[in-house]
Structures are given as structure tokens and as C-alpha cells.
């Protein structure tokens, strides 16, 4: 299998498997503790409103754009404005399988309803991010997987739905 060049698991999530005390790291929970997906803007003409991946990013609140000295979220919501948490869809029926020797995470396709771009400059979905949510603050939601490579990127929101159709083989494997 080829390695998609731009997709990556966040290293700080991987390392939690070695840490006894790291909480909210598992991917086999449901409801508020499930794995969720959000859409983010990258590579906008104005870099101040774009998210840039970093190996150092750990939590949901790292999904920000610089925005000229006043950081804002780079996540799309229903209205296209950067309102954290407003546009996130759960990966339902999350499954953890062993395929060959590799653990594979998989789940149902997700659909974001009526994605628009009314916020100035917020006009292109360039990536999606999976994170492990919990009932606490978004600053404790662990980033798991960053994906900006795949057919369909970038999406220019038009008020219609955006569907993420995962590969038949799964979402990611370690």
C-alpha cells in the first residue's frame, strides 16, 4: 500500500498508547466519547485564516488559524464561520480490526449538512481532522488523524452536503 503524502496520524496521539495516565485516547467509545470528524480550511489565499498541520499539535484547540494576531478556529460550521464544535460529525460504528498484522480503524461514512462559506475568506475545505471527543473542554479533545489528500479535495462549499466516503479498507492503519 502506498503512503498518502499529506495524511498523518498526530504523533502526540500515537504516544498516548504508551502512557498509563493519558486519558481520552481510546477509539472504541461512542456518544460524547466517540471519534468525531471536522472540516478545516488550509492553504487559503490568506494564510491568516488557514490551519497548518504540526507534529506538535495535540488537542482540538490547536486547530486554529493565526488571523493576524487574533487566532481563530479553522473549522467550518454550518454557516461557514469558525465556530468550534458546530460542525462535527461522529464516526459511528467505529471498529478496530487487525488486518494482517496491522490494526485498522474504520467507521461509517459521515455527511456534513448544508456547508456554506458565508464567513469572509472561509471558502475552501482543504482537510479533515479526526479527534477523540469527551464531555470536557475542547482543549482536552485529542487530535488523532489529519487528512488533506484524497479525491474530492478541496471542497468549495456551496450550501449542499459534504460526504466523507471512507476507503473500503478502512480509515487508517498503524
Amino acid at each position: 500500500m502506498a503512503y498518502p503524502s499529506g495524511n498523518a496520524l498526530y504523533p502526540n496521539w500515537k504516544v498516548t498508547a504508551w502512557q498509563e495516565l493519558s486519558s481520552f485516547k481510546s477509539l472504541d467509545q461512542s456518544g460524547v466519547n466517540g471519534v468525531y470528524c471536522c472540516l478545516v480550511q488550509i492553504q487559503a489565499p490568506n494564510p491568516n485564516i488557514s490551519y497548518t498541520y504540526s507534529n506538535a499539535h495535540t488537542f482540538y484547540t490547536d486547530l486554529i488559524a493565526p488571523n493576524s494576531g487574533s487566532p481563530q478556529s479553522a473549522i467550518f460550521n454550518v454557516g461557514g464561520s469558525p465556530n468550534p464544535g458546530a460542525l462535527q460529525q461522529q464516526i459511528t460504528t467505529a471498529t478496530l480490526n487487525i488486518v494482517g498484522a496491522a490494526p485498522v480503524f474504520d467507521g461509517d461514512d459521515v455527511t456534513f449538512l448544508q456547508v456554506t462559506n458565508i464567513f469572509a475568506g472561509f471558502n475552501s475545505v482543504g482537510a479533515l481532522v479526526l479527534f477523540r471527543m469527551n464531555a470536557g473542554l475542547s482543549s482536552t479533545w485529542r487530535l488523532v488523524y489529519y487528512c488533506d489528500t484524497g479525491a474530492g479535495f478541496p471542497v468549495l462549499p456551496n450550501g449542499g452536503n459534504v460526504t466523507i466516503q471512507w476507503n473500503a479498507g478502512g480509515i487508517f492503519a498503524i
Binding site: 500500500m1 502506498a2 503512503y3 498518502p4 503524502s5 499529506g6 495524511n7 498523518a8 496520524l9 504523533p11 500515537k14 498541520y53 507534529n55 496491522a102 485498522v104 455527511t111 448544508q114 475545505v125 479533515l128 488523524y145 489529519y146 487528512c147 489528500t149 484524497g150 479525491a151 474530492g152 479535495f153 471542497v155 468549495l156 462549499p157 456551496n158 450550501g159 449542499g160 452536503n161 459534504v162 460526504t163 466523507i164 466516503q165 471512507w166 476507503n167 479498507g169 478502512g170 480509515i171 487508517f172 492503519a173 498503524i174
Partner: protein, 103 residues
């Protein structure tokens, strides 16, 4: 912008024709569309000047919709006008072994 086909079940008819034409080469689809347009004008225009006025109006509106609504005047790139579903199909990501992140 309001979808110009949102009248008298025109959308349903448009979708039906579009489905029927799926897989047809673009140049043939274009020829069919123009032929339908010509027939429609021919059926209603009683004189040559009437026909000319009608086709001028249709193409003026078509050009406005195509260029003003469907393409961004600054970037020149196509843009979504009427809501429709878009699909992203990420590949299965296999994290490289050895602990070296591809980013």
C-alpha cells in the same frame, strides 16, 4: 441566486433529461441543447427579427448566468451556485513504520 429552473417542475424535467444524457459526449449534448432551443424559438417566433431577438435574449441571459454565477470573477475558477452534495474519498492511510511522520 435563485435557480432559474425552480418553476413548474422544470427541475424534475431537467434532471430527467440530464440522467438520460449521462455518458453522452459533451459535444453531442451541446448540439442537442442548441437544437431544442432552435426548435423552441422556431415554434414561437413568427418573423426572422422575432427569432433573432429571442435568441439574443436567451444567450445574453445564458452568458450572464454562466460567467457571473458559475465562475469567480476574481480567481476565474468555477464556483458552486446551486447546493449539491460533494464527496471526499480519502484513501486508507497506512502510517509509515519506523516512527517517521510523513509531514
Amino acid at each position: 441566486m435563485k435557480d432559474p429552473l425552480q418553476q413548474q417542475d422544470a427541475t424534475a424535467l431537467f434532471n430527467e433529461i440530464s440522467q438520460r444524457l449521462t455518458g453522452t459526449p459533451v459535444n453531442i449534448v451541446r448540439d442537442i441543447a442548441v437544437s431544442i432551443l432552435i426548435n423552441a424559438i422556431r415554434a414561437t417566433a413568427r418573423t426572422r427579427s422575432d427569432a433573432e431577438a429571442q435568441i439574443n435574449e436567451v444567450f445574453y441571459r445564458a452568458k450572464s448566468i454562466l460567467l457571473d454565477a458559475h465562475y469567480d470573477s476574481v480567481t476565474g475558477k468555477p464556483r458552486g451556485v446551486f447546493p449539491y452534495t460533494q464527496v471526499i474519498t480519502p484513501p486508507l492511510h497506512v502510517e509509515p513504520s519506523g516512527g517517521i511522520n510523513p509531514k
